[in-house]
Subunit: 444 residues, 2 copies
Amino acid sequence: MTSTGDDRVARGEQLVLATLIGGVGNHAGAWRRPNSRVEEKYDLRLFTDLVGRAEAAKLHAVFLADGLRLETDTLRSQPFAGLEPVTLLSALAAVTSRIGLIGSISTTFSEPYTVARQLASLDHISNGRAGWNLVTSAWGEENYGRSLPPHDERYERGAEFAEVLFALFDSWAADAITVDRATGVYADPAKVRAIDHVGKHFDVRGPLNVARPPQGRPVVAQAGSSEIGQDVAARFADVVFTTGRTTDEDSRRFYRSLKDRVAATGRDPGSVKILPGVSPIIGRTETEAKAVERELNGFIDLVSGRAKLSRQLAGVDLDDLELDEPVPLERLPQESQVQGRRSRFGVYRALVEDGWTLRRLIHWEVASAGHHVPVGSSEQIAELLLRRFEAGAADGFVLLPSYVPEGFTLLTDEVVPILQERGAFQTEYAHETLRGNLGIGPVA
Amino acid sequence: MTSTGDDRVARGEQLVLATLIGGVGNHAGAWRRPNSRVEEKYDLRLFTDLVGRAEAAKLHAVFLADGLRLETDTLRSQPFAGLEPVTLLSALAAVTSRIGLIGSISTTFSEPYTVARQLASLDHISNGRAGWNLVTSAWGEENYGRSLPPHDERYERGAEFAEVLFALFDSWAADAITVDRATGVYADPAKVRAIDHVGKHFDVRGPLNVARPPQGRPVVAQAGSSEIGQDVAARFADVVFTTGRTTDEDSRRFYRSLKDRVAATGRDPGSVKILPGVSPIIGRTETEAKAVERELNGFIDLVSGRAKLSRQLAGVDLDDLELDEPVPLERLPQESQVQGRRSRFGVYRALVEDGWTLRRLIHWEVASAGHHVPVGSSEQIAELLLRRFEAGAADGFVLLPSYVPEGFTLLTDEVVPILQERGAFQTEYAHETLRGNLGIGPVA
C-alpha cells in the first residue's frame, strides 16, 4: 500500500526509523566538541552504547556506511576512516536483540559467494536482523588492481550480484535440515540445490555452504538515485536510503517516481520503504540548536572542506577560487557525465546554479554530506519528520546524528518519544526479525 | 628459543593450547550422540557457550576452519556446513575478553584490501585478539568463476597476499592519530603512507582505511605442510597448525625441519609456535573412552564416509572397492602430483602403503579428518600431550574435540587442570593481546 495522503498516522501507519552511525556525528566538525568520543572511534564500546540506545528507542535498524579507500587529503582534520561494517555489525549482533543491522557492501569490488556467506551468517547470528546496503562504489579501484567500471556498468553488475545472492539464499529450502539421530539423516540433499548461475559478470555454481538465513533473505537497502540506480532499487530493494532533497516537493516527486517504478516491476509498492537521510542539528531549544550549528561550523577546516567539496563535485579543481565568490557553473560537468554519486552531484550542481559561494557550499557539505540538515528543537525536528511523512514524501527516515553523543541522545530520548506520543512510531518491537518489524514480511 | 630437550616444563616453558570448534565435534558421527547440540549449529549461543568455556580454561585461542563450497555428497549424513568465520569471530569478540580468535581466510579467492580491513577491524573490536589462518583453498573455484590455480602458484599468491596485508597493517604508524580538539588536528597525514604494492598477483596502493590494529599485525597461522607450504609458514606465520603425524618421531622431524626453515629466514625460531592438531576421544576412564569410540564409529554412514575419504585421496574413485579389502596403492597418484591438501594426502597414502582396508581408512577418516586421534582417559590424554611437548615435537596443540559438548568439557575441565597442576599450562592470561599471551610480543 502506497500512501500519499495526509492522514497516514490517523489511518494507523507509522514511520520507519533507522540511524546511520559513524561514531562521531555526520558534521565534519563534530569530533571537536568537548564530549565527543572520537578517541573511541575504533572501540566496540562506543558502538555498543550508541546501538544500545537506538534499540532502547525501538529504532528499526542501524546503518553502517563504508568506503574502499582512505581519503588522505582530509585525514588531518577529519576522522572518516573507521571499522569495517561486516565485522562491526557481527559484533553488535551479539550484544543486541531486536534492532536491524544493515551494512554497506560493494558489488563492484566483492565476490557474491563470499558476501552471501557473510550476510547469511550475520542473519543467523542475529536471529534474522541482517541487512545489506547494496552500493556500487564510486572509488577504491586503486586498492583492487583494476579500473572503476563506468557508472551504468557498475549498476548492471550490481543487479547481477543481487540476483546471484538471492539465488544462493534460496539454494537451501527452509526445511532442508531434518536432524534424525536414529537414522543418521542430517539433511535432505534434494532440498539443497546448485544455482548454476552463468552470467555476464559472475559464474557461480553454488549451493551456498551456509543454511538458509532466518529471514529467507537479509533485507536489501539501496541508495542509488540515478535512473539506473532507481531501477536497481525497484527490482531488489526493501529499503531505499535516499539523499539530498531538502524540500517537501522534491522529496515527494522522488518518492512517487520510485514507487511507480516498483509497481512497474510487479512488486507491491508498499513493500519498499523509502527513507530519506536527515541530519538534524538539534538543541533542547531552537536557540541552543542555532548555537550548536555556529559552534560546529566554527570547527570547520576550510582546506579539507574544499577537498571534500571538490570530491562531491566530480573532482573539479576549486583551489584557485575565492571563498566568498560564487562557484562558476561552467566548471562543472553535466550530471549525466558523472561516474559516481551521480544523483548527489545533481544536488550540489543545483546549489551552484543558485549562485552559492564557495564558503557556503563548503559549510553545507561538511554539515550535510549531501543530506538535509534542519536546525531546531526536538519538537521542531519531530514536526518536520511528521509533516514530510504525511506529505507522502517518505515512509520514514535514516537519521544521521550531526554530533555525538548529545545530538544522538536528543534524537533517541526526545524526538522519538514525541513521535511515539503522536502514535507515529512503534513503542515496542512487534517481531523478532527486521523484515517483520519493517512490515515487509518474510520471503516465501 | 627452540627447545628440543626433555625438561621444558622444569625450565619454565609452558604449552600453547588452542581449540578448533565446529560446533558438533571432529568425529563425523558425533552429531548423533543424544546430547549433541547439532540443532544449534547456526546459533550464536552454542559458540558463545563453547568459547566461554575455552576462555575459562585459559586456552590461548579458538580456531574456526572454513571452506568455499558445499559438499553435497556428504550433506545427507554430515553437518559440515556452518557459519562463516569472520562474522562468527566478530560476534564472539563481543562476548569474550581474553581468548584469541583465529579464522581461516582463503588467499586464492579473496582480495587483500578487503581481508586486511576485516582483520584489522576484528583486531580493534577484540582489543588485540585477532588471528588469521592463511589458507590457499583446495577447492571452491566453481563458486568464483575461475579455475583453481596449481598448488605452488596458490602458495606463491598466498605469500604475496601476506606481504600486502603486512604492508597495509603497517601503513598507519602507531602514533598517527593525535586528536587535538583545540587546533582541529585529528591525525598526522605524514604517518599514514600509501604502500604502492605492484606485484604479480596484486596491485594495491593503500593506505588501509582502518587505523593500525592493536597488535600491529593480527597473529598469522598457517597449516600448509608441503615444501612450499612450510616455506610460506617460515616467512609469515606466528603459529603453525600442523596435521596428521601420529608418532612422536614423525612429529619431531617435522618440528625440527620447520624451525630450521624459520631460522633460515632470519627469524627467531622460538617466535613461531608449532601446534599439531590432536582430536582425542576422551572418557572419564579408558574403558569409557573406548566405549565412546565404538559408539561414534557405529554412527558412521559408510556411503558418505567413502565419499569423504575419496576427497582426501585426491578424488580417487573408491566406489567399486570391497570394504574389507586393502585399497590398491596403484590407484593413488604420487604426493607431488596432488594439487590440494598435499601433505594430508601423504599421510593417507602412507596408510594405504601399510595395507589398510577401505573400512579401516573410512573409520580413521571420519574420526580424524587427518588428525591424530588418541583414545583414553583425561589423565592419559594429558600425559600424551606432555610427552610430545617434552620430546620436542610440539610447542603446544590445537585440540579438536571429537564430540561436543561432553568431549569438549572433559578437555577444558579435566585435561587442562591436569596440565596446570604440572605447571605446564597457564592458569591466567598474562596479557591483553593474543600476541602477548603467545609470548611472541608485539610487532615493532
